[in-house]
Symmetry: D2
Subunit: 248 residues, 4 copies
Amino acid sequence: MSSLRVVVWGENVHEHKNPKVGAIYPKGMHAAIAEGIRERIPGAIVATATLQEPEHGLSEERLAKTDVLTWWGHLAHDQVSDAVADRVQRRVLEGMGLIVLHSAHYSKVFRRLMGTTCSLHWREADDKERLWVCNPGHPIASGLGPQFELPAEEMYGEPFLVPPPEEQVFISWFEGGEVFRSGCTWRRGNGRIFYFRPGHETYPTYHNVTVRQVIANAVRWAAPQGHWPEVGKSPNARVHPEPIRPKP
Amino acid sequence: MSSLRVVVWGENVHEHKNPKVGAIYPKGMHAAIAEGIRERIPGAIVATATLQEPEHGLSEERLAKTDVLTWWGHLAHDQVSDAVADRVQRRVLEGMGLIVLHSAHYSKVFRRLMGTTCSLHWREADDKERLWVCNPGHPIASGLGPQFELPAEEMYGEPFLVPPPEEQVFISWFEGGEVFRSGCTWRRGNGRIFYFRPGHETYPTYHNVTVRQVIANAVRWAAPQGHWPEVGKSPNARVHPEPIRPKP
Amino acid sequence: MSSLRVVVWGENVHEHKNPKVGAIYPKGMHAAIAEGIRERIPGAIVATATLQEPEHGLSEERLAKTDVLTWWGHLAHDQVSDAVADRVQRRVLEGMGLIVLHSAHYSKVFRRLMGTTCSLHWREADDKERLWVCNPGHPIASGLGPQFELPAEEMYGEPFLVPPPEEQVFISWFEGGEVFRSGCTWRRGNGRIFYFRPGHETYPTYHNVTVRQVIANAVRWAAPQGHWPEVGKSPNARVHPEPIRPKP
Amino acid sequence: MSSLRVVVWGENVHEHKNPKVGAIYPKGMHAAIAEGIRERIPGAIVATATLQEPEHGLSEERLAKTDVLTWWGHLAHDQVSDAVADRVQRRVLEGMGLIVLHSAHYSKVFRRLMGTTCSLHWREADDKERLWVCNPGHPIASGLGPQFELPAEEMYGEPFLVPPPEEQVFISWFEGGEVFRSGCTWRRGNGRIFYFRPGHETYPTYHNVTVRQVIANAVRWAAPQGHWPEVGKSPNARVHPEPIRPKP
């Protein structure tokens, strides 16, 4: 089997604006996320791409060679070009896996694939978050116990305006009294999509070993199961050459 | 429009064994549930049925005239006859609505319709429960705010082994640190099913005005939208009399 | 109960370009569709809107007072402004029903709500189409037999690249040998969506009594069940004023 | 990776009663199905089991070591013991894959997992069947073209009374004018389920190379992705030892 090719996309803005974020992620959040995947998927080819690169680092050629894309963004969703958002959407429909992280619930890519606002409630107050596993046998929960905790995170609360998830992998409990569907899967076309809630920029969440385990599990789970290259074509079908014989 | 015909089914065992339960529900839990529906759906014909009646109060004739059935059971799931469980299941497939309450997650009727164990975690420790609305526009959440609280309830925790709900109406937060998908809908055949978590027998939950509002909303929502009387038939189809002409 | 307010949207281009279409639909396809709904839903307020009107006839004010919108388009999907497409999408999420007809599978509105290409195969060869009812108890199939036929229609064939339908109401059989999921439902936010395949402009499909019955049934089915006005807001949540007491 | 362990279950009744069936499948239908899987999945350990064996060949020990089970039955669904049906259901929930073939739509195992009647229409008239691929990128359609044909088969027609499939892989077109959802997937607990329509006993369907390809693809697809051994337990949860600190 050929190597799994992963691209970790990072908006890469907070890291340079907010010293607190820069201190937690000196090489960028994307570098920490990529490191966690490399550690856990031996043989995977894990690269990064950022908003600031030409075509945001996501050229047609590169996406064509990408099996799974992870996406973190927050401040600059609108700076992602429509052309690149369209390109990512089409590649997901063809079969590329997509892992959507935290505030990327509001990314162009995720909103286009969901068709909804993807809105939610939020609070920054160092809430303890406890993530419960809803299907202990799910590959994305592999190696986890019944729940795991993050000592402090931004809170996200329901209602989360997405289409009904096909699988509920995690639901979060927050110290301040809220709940959130924090691990959800969907399929669109031939691609698998996983939304994973944790990862506010001011916390060291992407250094957490369990969070890294979940992301690596999700990357493996989202690896393409097949390919559908003509996903956007609407061909004119000829009449089948063999005439259909009527039933007597 | 003709009146909505509702049957509230109660196991009616705890009420006679446990003085605490008898004190909260002197006429039985089913009587309190029925009262709440009557208050909120003027014109509805709301009757009760219990385990102890012949055919558990659910004869073929009676079910045929029932639009929505609510079900509470706990200690005596096994005493419900297979014949009655089969009958209820078939009526749901035909179009009767079914509201499954609290410990009825383990009822024969619900387990047969779901095809799974319907297992979960639980704890009796007077946990505060906060139920969050996941879709504020859903008819079952009509008239509610973003969340509502029950001061003390039994805790139910994930994983809840059911097929993926079609709609997530409520998710519960528990004071002890757990979460639960406490309001879920499914459709089976032509029938609508709503599972609603609250209602442990030792708490006055079915006297709570918001709980009563949710149950009445759910009864209205689950009213039959159509009828499919031949739901279990596998007829032999004749060849269509008009011969199909082949395409030239 | 107040009257159901329906807007029938028509692209209104073929009717003026192609004499064959103009002969079948002298007042426009939208007029025929509206007439069919008026006939079957007494008391409904059924109006039309077309591409050529200011804001395509779908101002903010008008959409706010619309319960169900039907949409037919083909040649001019790109001429629908992004602002109006966004507006319709948001109203569906709030609770407005949407009936998507035939070639509107490629409309901006439907593609945005689905998140997929909505592509398919097609052929114009006067195929006989037979539509089978997959759930005889579904409100959209009310009054129909097991199947109904259209003597000649454009063929649409699988694969149809949409998210998995929540309900399969119809599947079409075509004389030339193809199949298609021709009646599908989805919910997005609080809105109900029904895609219905028949309706190529060169056939008198919207004069067919069964097709009219299906569309009227669908309009009734898609009527708003509730309202979610803040569907696109992501509010900052205050900490709940009442402190959470830890479990002993 | 350890070898995939497959058990092909056959009712094994028609083969001994009907000379026509015995001539097509001299070693039994199960032997032909097993042969097709062995040819296409090198290294898989493929065994058979039949109704007539003790515990129908499906002891607790054997099922515990089975990754994917295929099931064909028709005449003797009622002779399958409830204990074995329960056991298979529980193993599917834990993670075992299940491939349900043709008339096994009426098997105890499938009906319990679906919760519905699984009824349909049928006709034995040597109909040509054309199966269309609804998702060309799906692993179960790997290696197939847009459609494939069986020259003569029993017809199955809609309505097919099952819960909404999570993925529609195939839809069949029949020469006599019917359609059927002939390739459907569901997940229950941690197990994957695939229903595949073709395979009437009087036709050499399980010798067809494309049918064999689909079954082998499905077996690979249904291989367990994880394990959930405590699938039927409802444990009493202790209060989490670390007290929850209230939000200030």
